[in-house]
């Protein structure tokens, strides 16, 4: 029962924070402010949930708690695209819809190529895939830097806005599109959920226990990449959010059962994001951004994990 109790208190905390976020400190007309806040909360719940889920699954597949799917180069690729768009087209930029779809498409093409390259021969080590992704990410980073230096300071401010995830100006049509996408992916991934507990035991045990290992892992990796791509395209990169919430979920839930872990990490993610957004809006009054705070905390926590006697 303690697990249920834990999940219950997480859910209560999440709901309470959302309520505070929605209703507290309402200045100006209700009809104007309230719908905007609702949209923000929706965006947070969606992306927070998607990132938490993706990271947890990713860590289970890789059997490693200090990895996050954001590092395979998706964040850097997104930044490269955003920088390029502003570099090439300047102020007459792409429409938000086009940019959204184009970002997702580009990230998926990248992931497809990466996976193709890696899974062409059996027995490729997953860490190898990650390292290749990370190196390519660094390469994308150099290219972005090159363009960022050449852009004039006013336009650079627009690149800089893209560098940090933000829930402030999300278009409703994109939100709807992302919601449908995430829901479909969620539905598809249901069939693999029962495998996760066993996958956590490692490849050999999973094969022994009758899981179609290669098939499952490939599908799950694509699911993970899609989730990250959609949430990144929607709000921007939050590299260390997943790492933070997946590990907190493991520590808090103290179980091997993924049904509980996933629910827990999604709730924690929502709590972190809504809480963070409250801080940014009402305490820092927008002097910093949510993703900077999350990356700061997540990054610090990551260091703590590494320096603690770790069990990987």
């Amino acid at each position: 029962m303690t697990h249920k109790w834990k999940l219950g208190s997480l859910a209560a905390a999440a709901v309470a924070l959302i309520a505070v976020f929605l209703f507290a400190n309402m200045i100006g007309s209700f009809d104007y402010v309230f719908p905007r806040r609702v949209f923000k909360v929706l965006a947070i719940v969606m992306t927070g949930g998607a990132i938490a889920f993706a990271t947890l699954v990713f860590q289970t597949i890789t059997n490693n708690r200090i990895l996050t799917p954001s590092i395979i180069g998706l964040d850097s690729l997104y930044m490269l695209l955003q920088t390029f768009v502003i570099f090439a087209f300047g102020s007459m930029s792409l429409s938000a819809e086009l940019n959204f779809i184009f970002s997702i498409a580009l990230m998926m093409v990248f992931v497809a190529l990466l996976y193709r390259l890696m899974f062409k021969r059996e027995g490729r080590n997953l860490y190898f895939l990650l390292l290749v992704g990370l190196v390519l990410g660094t390469l994308f980073g150099s290219l972005s830097t090159f363009m960022q230096v050449l852009i004039d300071p006013n336009e650079f401010m627009r690149v800089q806005d893209k560098m940090f995830a933000s829930f402030n100006n999300i278009r409703t049509d994109l939100l709807l599109f992302a919601a449908i996408g995430l829901a479909l992916i969620g539905l598809y991934s249901m069939r693999f959920m029962k495998f996760l507990d066993v996958l956590a035991l490692g490849r050999e045990q999973a094969v022994n226990l009758g899981i179609p290992y290669d098939y499952t892992v490939k599908r799950l990796l694509i699911i993970v990449a899609l989730l990250i791509a959609i949430s990144t395209a929607l709000v921007g990169p939050i590299t260390f959010l997943g790492l933070l919430v997946a590990n907190v979920a493991h520590q808090f839930m103290k179980t091997y059962r993924h049904s509980l872990l996933i629910a827990g990490s999604m709730l924690i993610s929502i709590i972190a994001l809504v809480g963070g957004q409250l801080l940014v809006e009402r305490v820092f009054t927008f002097s910093t951004t949510l993703s900077v705070i999350i990356n700061f905390i997540g990054g610090g926590y990551f260091l703590y994990l590494l320096l603690r006697e770790n069990r990987t």
Binding site: F128, L139, Q148, V149, V292, N295, F296, T312
Partner: protein, 317 residues
């Protein structure tokens, strides 16, 4: 890989480098330079060549030392958080001591780089799973974390584009009077050479080194100080040159093995040659403009790194 050929290539490319640029100077003019041409040579071309050679050699050597000490072929200032820590240090220096001289900035950055590298080595000790590929993964993640701290402060102080621009590896800003700090690397390289044998032994493991009567900790610390200092000096004068310390030593050790006494001079020469080549390439690609060295080395270096990775996989798969 003969030293002789490397040397010849180095001399040839050095000449090309000296006579390449918007201000046309013909090699035949060398002994009857006009006042203006002499000025260009002394103020811009020669400092540029010197800093290229020194930066290339010193960074490659520091990569080699790191790989030896961490006993992992894929560790280098780029993949161990050294670069990112130095960057954070420079930012802190910019924020706290706005009027600091270059030397003061260097000291702050050095302290950060050294601390970052030490933390990484500590992490290496703690991580039980010492897969050759996992370690650089941890290092790059570690670097990303430090990077996020840098971003946090840079964002608050509106310094993001500033620091991005400043730290991008670029030789075009090298002028006499603004690059001399890079000479600090030269004695460091000499010290590295003197300690080469000891680094080799330290690289065989702590027990092994102690068994041979070596103060393992001390040797490792000397190595890390050299690495951190070189990284900072090059970063402050030239900027960030990613993957250099990774690719060059790996190419050399494939042919020359892991005995530092033998591979160190080769690494230095190949490193200088590689940077020189990339710099010339960057200068002619979009002439009369320049592609900064950070980008050319970044592109060619990451390509080579991936090649090395795949090659290694092909060997043991």
């Amino acid at each position: 890989m003969k030293k002789r050929y490397l040397l010849i290539a180095l001399v040839l490319l050095s000449f090309v480098s000296l006579f390449l640029g918007v201000k046309n100077i013909h090699p035949l003019d060398l002994f009857r330079l006009s006042e203006e041409q002499l000025q260009v040579m002394l103020v811009s071309r020669i400092p540029r060549l010197v800093s290229i050679l020194v930066a290339g050699a010193a960074l490659s050597i520091s990569g080699l030392i790191m790989q030896q000490l961490s006993r992992n072929k894929f560790v280098s200032p780029t993949t161990a958080g050294t670069d990112d820590a130095a960057r954070l240090g420079i930012l802190v220096a910019l924020m706290l001591f706005t009027s600091a001289s270059l030397i003061e900035k260097m000291i702050v950055a050095f302290v950060f780089a050294l601390a970052g590298t030490f933390v990484f080595m500590k992490i290496l000790d703690r991580v039980k799973y010492k897969d050759a590929i996992f370690i650089p993964l941890v290092g790059l993640m570690f670097g990303n974390v430090i990077g996020s701290l840098t971003t946090f402060f840079a964002y608050k102080n509106n310094l993001i584009q500033n620091i991005t621009a400043w730290l991008q590896g670029d030789f075009s800003g090298i002028l006499s009077g603004r690059y001399e700090m890079i000479y600090i690397s030269i004695p460091l390289v000499i010290v590295a050479y003197l300690f080469a044998n000891k680094f080799t032994i330290a690289g065989m493991g702590e027990e092994f080194a102690i068994n041979l009567g070596l103060k393992h900790k001390q040797i490792v610390n000397i190595g890390l100080v050299i690495v951190a200092l070189v990284s900072v000096v090059v970063m402050l004068t030239v900027g960030l040159i990613p993957f250099l310390g990774l690719v060059v030593p790996n190419l050399v050790t494939i042919y020359a093995g892991d005995n530092l006494k033998k591979s160190l001079p080769l690494t230095a020469m190949l490193g200088a040659l590689f940077v020189l080549f990339c710099d010339i390439l960057g200068r002619i690609l979009i002439y009369p403009y320049e592609v900064p060295i950070g980008l050319t080395v970044g592109v060619i270096g990451s390509g080579l790194f991936l090649y090395l990775l795949i090659r290694r996989k092909a060997h043991d798969a």
